[in-house]
Symmetry: C2
Subunit: 409 residues, 2 copies
């Protein structure tokens, strides 16, 4: 292991993509009813014209539009009613000049008709005739077969995260199952002699374990499956066996708690030992997030990620690396950031990209983003924030009035 | 039941809040590890100062800052090391003039010290002395006890949706459980002789059932619990018993599929019959979403909601009413909308509020929002959209260049 391979975020990401390669993700078929928020692993082509038949958008009479030309309240047009189409059934008649058929909303428009007149403009005249008091143009109140989506056309692209409307679109095609990506399995190891599990009594000098809980929640939020969490003391052998166990049961092993020099070295050594070809990023030019370690074991294709011990830094790096990697691999689009105007001056961090936590305030012109200041690593800087902006490496800081993009979390 | 109680969205919402009253939601205690995305039903006050003790932010030596005054590379200051504080243990010494203690990142700062010098600026001089080559100011690299959050102070407000960082903040306090709102139980009834379950063969004139799937996904997305879904034919008795069963097992009964006049009347009659005091909103001045029916049964406190049959309209009303109601009841803040500039002209809809579906394009200045046009009710208008804007009742439409707020879905 070469020491001090400090990378920019972009370098680390590129190495990560190369190390992981293609086919890292596996796919599975899930019922459409359970597919909300899953990401499509296949292109979906229309199986049917939607709608399958010409449908009426109103309760009314299917007519030939030209028959209604000039119709009005004082000069109605008389048409013969030759069918009463029931919802869910085939229309049997063929509408010719002078004839019409009743069709309910969603019902099938008979052959020959090209439009509908709403019942509000039709009056029963005699047993089989109505008086129409409105002129309609061709196509009025009719949805053509295939107007929503066409048989054979690309309906949903691979990489689409399925929202309720996409679930609806899949149901409309009659699909019951769909191919999506399996969630990546993740193990979280928190190291530290100072860590105490919530609920237990806190002894002097110790703190409650935050990272296990915050990182598990973050992983869950982004669609990872947390297969295990472990808290281990700062003992080489304990950490070693925890990593080995975790490697067996997950795609990503996250080790957090390497902020102090001794711990950082121990994590780096173990990641290097237990992955082949070993550590490829040792330090990230990111604030917060410097003490980050990346390695990938080619044989088991397990990504090993050493995160900073500060919870805020650990979460920031988790967003910037595994969450980013998952999206890249799934081909999912970036979550839309929010444009805002900065309300405060922010000094640059030479040679490091910075995540700036901000609070958003709505104004008639858009958002004002006020930086949430506080010492690095304070969780309150993150609970007070609505999101973060990225201040680039070579930017000399930002000033009040600058336009920024905020990723809301 | 008075017929035609067409309400504006605001009127319907006010009636809804009054009908539901206080105490509609129930609360429950959940483990912090499972509390992601749940909404707090209690204010959380700090149980501890966080951190509980003064911690070092670096690997270094805890010193009295005034001892380092004037120190530099050419003129180091010599200090006696009187303790090596291990992580997770109590610091025992008291730092006085001329003395210091080693403290790792996250370790306890001993009494008397007010700052830390990073190890990078310290050199071992003899067995128990170091040479310090940097001057630090008081407070440097130290997090004070309570600097992140204070014992007794409001940590998280009732109504907060718990993000990963809030889970972390709860863990930091040592909390294992937290009081949140129980999800509202919802039953979805889709009516229509034309409906066919996905997977079955589609006969002429029939369509696949979309609403059951799309509405269940939408409900799930917004934190409701879907207790049951039912598809029933357009038969009075069948719908009546479905509603009765659903009423027993849920807080909200959603009946979708009342776009045609006959169906609409049947739903309205049944909601009126099966709720006491009956229907209070019959029609909504909203596009899409006009054929909406609202009733609340006071005894069982069940909300009954008749939705339009068009899937897009049904989903729009679901967002505008039950989702809105849930947020109001939980005291959760509005999801932050995205500001955008409209890229297209949109005619107004006199007397009706309108939901305008838009596609967002990122530009250096912000977002352009292009209206997604298409006949009302086409699912493709919603799958192509990134979100929606609300065009107010009395607005004479919108034009290219207008600023709008887009709720991303």
């Amino acid at each position: 292991m070469e020491l001090l391979k400090v990378d920019t975020l972009e370098q680390a990401r590129e190495k990560l993509m190369q190390a992981v390669g293609d086919g890292w993700l596996t796919t599975c078929e899930v019922p459409v009813v359970e597919a909300l928020d899953r990401v499509l692993a296949e292109d979906i082509y229309g199986e049917l014209d939607i709608p399958c038949f010409r449908r009426s958008m109103v309760d009314g009479y299917a007519v030939q539009a030209k028959d209604t030309m000039g119709a009005g309240e004082s000069i109605p047009v008389f048409l013969q009613v030759i069918e009463d189409v029931a919802i869910g059934t085939r229309a049997c008649s063929t509408i010719g000049p002078g004839t019409c058929a009743y069709v309910p909303t969603g019902g099938m428009i008979p052959e020959g008709a090209d439009s509908c007149v709403m019942v509000e403009y039709c009056e029963q005249f005699d047993e089989d005739h109505i008086a129409v008091s409105q002129s309609v143009s061709s196509g009025r109140h009719v949805v053509e077969a295939g107007e929503d989506s066409r048989k054979g056309a690309l309906l949903l692209k691979k990489g689409t995260r399925l929202r309720p409307q996409e679930i609806g679109a899949l149901a409309a095609e009659g699909l019951t199952c769909v191919m999506v990506y399996e969630p990546l399995k993740i193990s979280i190891i928190s190291t530290g002699d100072e860590l105490t599990a919530p609920g237990e009594e806190l002894q002097e000098g110790k703190i409650y374990d935050i990272n296990t809980y915050a990182l598990a929640a973050l992983a869950k939020k982004h669609g990872f499956m947390v297969s295990n969490t472990r808290t281990v003391p700062d003992v080489y052998d304990a950490l070693r066996s925890a990593i080995l166990e975790a490697k067996d049961e997950s795609d990503i092993v996250v080790i957090s708690g390497g902020s102090s020099k001794g711990k950082k070295d121990m994590t780096a050594l173990l990641v290097d030992e237990l992955s082949d070809p070993g550590v490829f990023t040792h330090g990230l030019a990111l604030k917060p997030g410097k003490p980050t370690i990346l390695g990938l074991d080619q044989k088991s294709r397990t990504l090993m990620l050493g995160l900073p011990g500060h919870p805020v830094a650990a979460m920031a790096v988790f967003e910037m690396l595994p969450v980013w990697l998952k999206r890249q691999q799934e081909g999912e689009q970036e979550k839309l950031p929010v444009p805002a105007v900065l309300n405060g001056n922010v000094p640059g961090t030479p040679g490091r990209k910075m995540l700036l936590f901000v609070e958003l305030t709505k104004t008639p012109e858009g958002y004002l983003a006020s930086p949430v200041f506080g010492k690095s690593g304070l969780m309150s800087t993150m609970t007070r924030a609505d999101g973060y902006a990225v201040v680039e490496l070579n930017q000399e800081g930002l000033k009040t009035g600058d336009r920024i993009w905020v990723q809301v979390f």
